[in-house]
């Protein structure tokens, strides 16, 4: 058996003519051709985005149910914590609480942001104004009873030909009027524009409408159909049958196994694991054992087989 005496010192052996620039040009041509061929053969996915108007029209009960949860503070966004509000501490890992430490940077007060402020844009509708005033004036306990009763009634709601909802009679207070107005605003596209409103004329921040839609079921249903959910290895998938971010396979893997799978702190735990692994990846040259594996498993004998053969040691 040949003993390794590698000292990785300077190469003193022969050189062969080589044209680096020519190699780059040829490689560039081949890669460009490959990209064009793949484009011609497979194009690329471009599934139309969902809108609040299309969501509230196609799934009015889900939209209204989501809006009610924003109103009474039980939605995913309302209970999220930083960076949107202080309703929760956010995720943590042992003493590490970066979500809490960084605080609320994108404040979203869901009743105001998603219900009251948009309704203020409806002109000349005293019924809506009165309903909002009645709701705001009621004790919190009363508000909760109205919204919970209405949310429960939505399970038996029927969609009318004009797109509105009809729920069984009950003690809902002003909630049906508020939600009816909000549904109408959403179906006409007015809510979308309202949520994108900022102090500037131009805006590019879609945080509010995206979080509202994420609180509902539409995005999730579309994602499940396209195998994009977290438990479907969704982070590395793409709509349709296209390859997605397959380089995220290891990151996605952790979400499929315990203790991450069921953990409320899964995101920070997975990110921390990946941070450690990423540092190890960068520092492989300095990690005993890991850096020696290539010497123990001689794949290099295959890579440099011509060299070893020519050297008479292969």
């Amino acid at each position: 058996m040949t003993r390794f005496t590698d000292k990785t010192s300077a190469w003193k052996g022969p050189y062969a003519p080589y044209d680096l620039v020519k190699e780059l040009c040829i490689a560039l041509g081949v890669i460009t051709l490959l990209a064009v061929v793949l484009t011609v053969l497979f194009s690329s996915p471009d599934d139309k985005p969902s809108t609040i108007a299309s969501w509230s029209t196609a799934m009015p009960a889900d939209f209204v149910g989501t809006a009610v949860s924003e109103l009474d503070g039980t939605s995913g966004t309302a209970e999220y914590g930083p960076p949107y509000n202080n309703a929760a501490e956010g995720q943590h890992a042992a003493f590490l609480k970066p979500q809490e430490w960084l605080g609320v940077s994108h404040p979203i007060d869901t009743p105001n942001a998603y219900v009251f402020e948009p309704l203020q844009t409806i002109p000349n509708d005293p019924a809506v104004k009165n309903a909002v005033a009645t709701y705001k004036a009621a004790p919190v306990k009363q508000q909760k009873e109205w919204s919970e009763a209405y949310a429960k009634a939505l399970e038996k709601a029927t969609v009318q030909p004009n797109g509105t909802l009809k729920v069984p009679p009950g003690e809902y207070g002003p909630v049906p009027v508020i939600m009816g107005a909000l549904l109408g605003l959403a179906q006409t596209g007015g809510l979308e524009g309202n949520l994108l409103r900022s102090s500037q004329f131009f805006q590019t921040d879609y945080t509010k409408p995206l979080l509202l839609m994420a609180d509902g079921k539409l995005l999730e249903e579309r994602a499940e159909a396209d195998h994009l959910l977290g438990d479907q290895w969704g982070m590395m998938n793409e709509t349709g049958s296209y390859p997605g971010q397959s380089w995220l396979w290891l990151y996605t893997f952790w979400y499929q196994v315990e203790p991450f799978k069921e953990s409320e702190n899964a995101d920070i735990l997975v990110v921390l694991v990946m941070t450690v692994l990423s540092l190890a990846f960068i520092l492989i040259p300095f990690i005993p054992g890991i850096r020696s594996i290539p010497r123990w498993i001689p794949v290099h004998r295959l890579i440099w087989r011509e060299h070893y053969r020519a050297s008479g040691v292969g």
Binding site: S9, A27, L28, A35, V36, L38, T39, P83
Partner: protein, 259 residues
């Protein structure tokens, strides 16, 4: 043009001299390679670089017409598709390149920085791609952004890196991340040219010379020494013989330049 007397402290001169000393032209663009550079695995480095060029080229075309163009026209969709497939090719070739370099233990002989810049490039390319995915303005972007926010927020990163803010993500995608990736790849390639392609694990001493001086001198091995092949520093950069003496084995008659 003649300059009467160039001060020794002239920053420009010192920068030029340091640059040329570190990477003389014949080392930057050598006309020969050591004969061991003879495997299909070496293709994947230049293939990764080529894919990056296609990504940037197609991205620049997309940038010329704005972020919504590719949804509205066939030609726009065509260039977006090229952009997407170039990204897939970039990651594929880069991963093969990285695996190849791992099995070569390409950090040997003072080449740790070469490995590290390559590894960091991969890690930076991941959010560079992510910001592209969330800038697509389609359902995919909606879903990915609403999912990715949780990981960002859990780390507190969401406070200043908001994946649901299209304007912010688009800016990162077309400027900050590309600048970072190009800078890292440039550093990586220059380091490869400076240190040369890592030589094979030697099975005998016949093709090697003793360690020579290096820009990053080898550490003194502790008692018991460093296991052969585990060293991450030392070795003459670029395979240049010590002292720049003519390389008798070089058919091109060069001074052991480049790789």
């Amino acid at each position: 043009m003649s300059v009467a007397a160039t001060p020794k402290r002239n920053w420009t001169v010192r920068t030029r001299e340091a640059g040329v000393a570190a990477l003389p032209p014949e080392k930057l663009l050598p006309e020969g390679q050591p004969t061991y550079v003879d495997s299909w695995i070496y293709i994947f480095g230049v293939a990764t670089l080529s894919a990056l060029i296609v990504i940037i080229g197609s991205g620049m075309i997309l940038t010329l017409k704005g972020p919504a163009w590719w949804h509205d026209t066939g030609i726009g969709h065509f260039f977006n598709s090229i952009h997407l497939w170039a990204v897939e090719l970039f990651f594929f070739t880069m991963v093969v390149h990285l695996w190849g370099k791992y099995w070569m233990a390409a950090w040997r002989g003072g080449r740790a920085k070469v490995w590290m810049t390559g590894a960091i490039t991969f890690l930076i390319a991941v959010p560079a791609a992510l910001t592209g995915y969330v800038s697509q303005q389609n359902f995919d972007a909606q879903w990915i952004s609403t999912q990715a926010k949780d990981a960002m927020n859990s780390l507190g990163v969401g406070a200043f890196f908001n994946v649901t803010n299209f304007g912010q993500m688009y800016s990162w995608h077309i400027l900050l991340f590309p600048v970072a990736v190009v800078a890292l790849v440039s550093a990586h390639v220059l380091l490869v040219r400076r240190h040369g392609v890592v030589p094979p694990f030697e099975l005998s001493e016949r093709d090697t010379v003793s360690r020579a001086s290096d820009a990053s001198p080898p550490p003194t091995p502790p008692a018991g020494g460093i296991s052969a092949g585990d060293s991450v520093a030392g070795g003459a950069p670029g395979g240049a013989p010590p002292g720049g003496a003519p390389n008798p084995s070089d058919p091109l008659g060069r001074q052991g330049a480049g790789s």
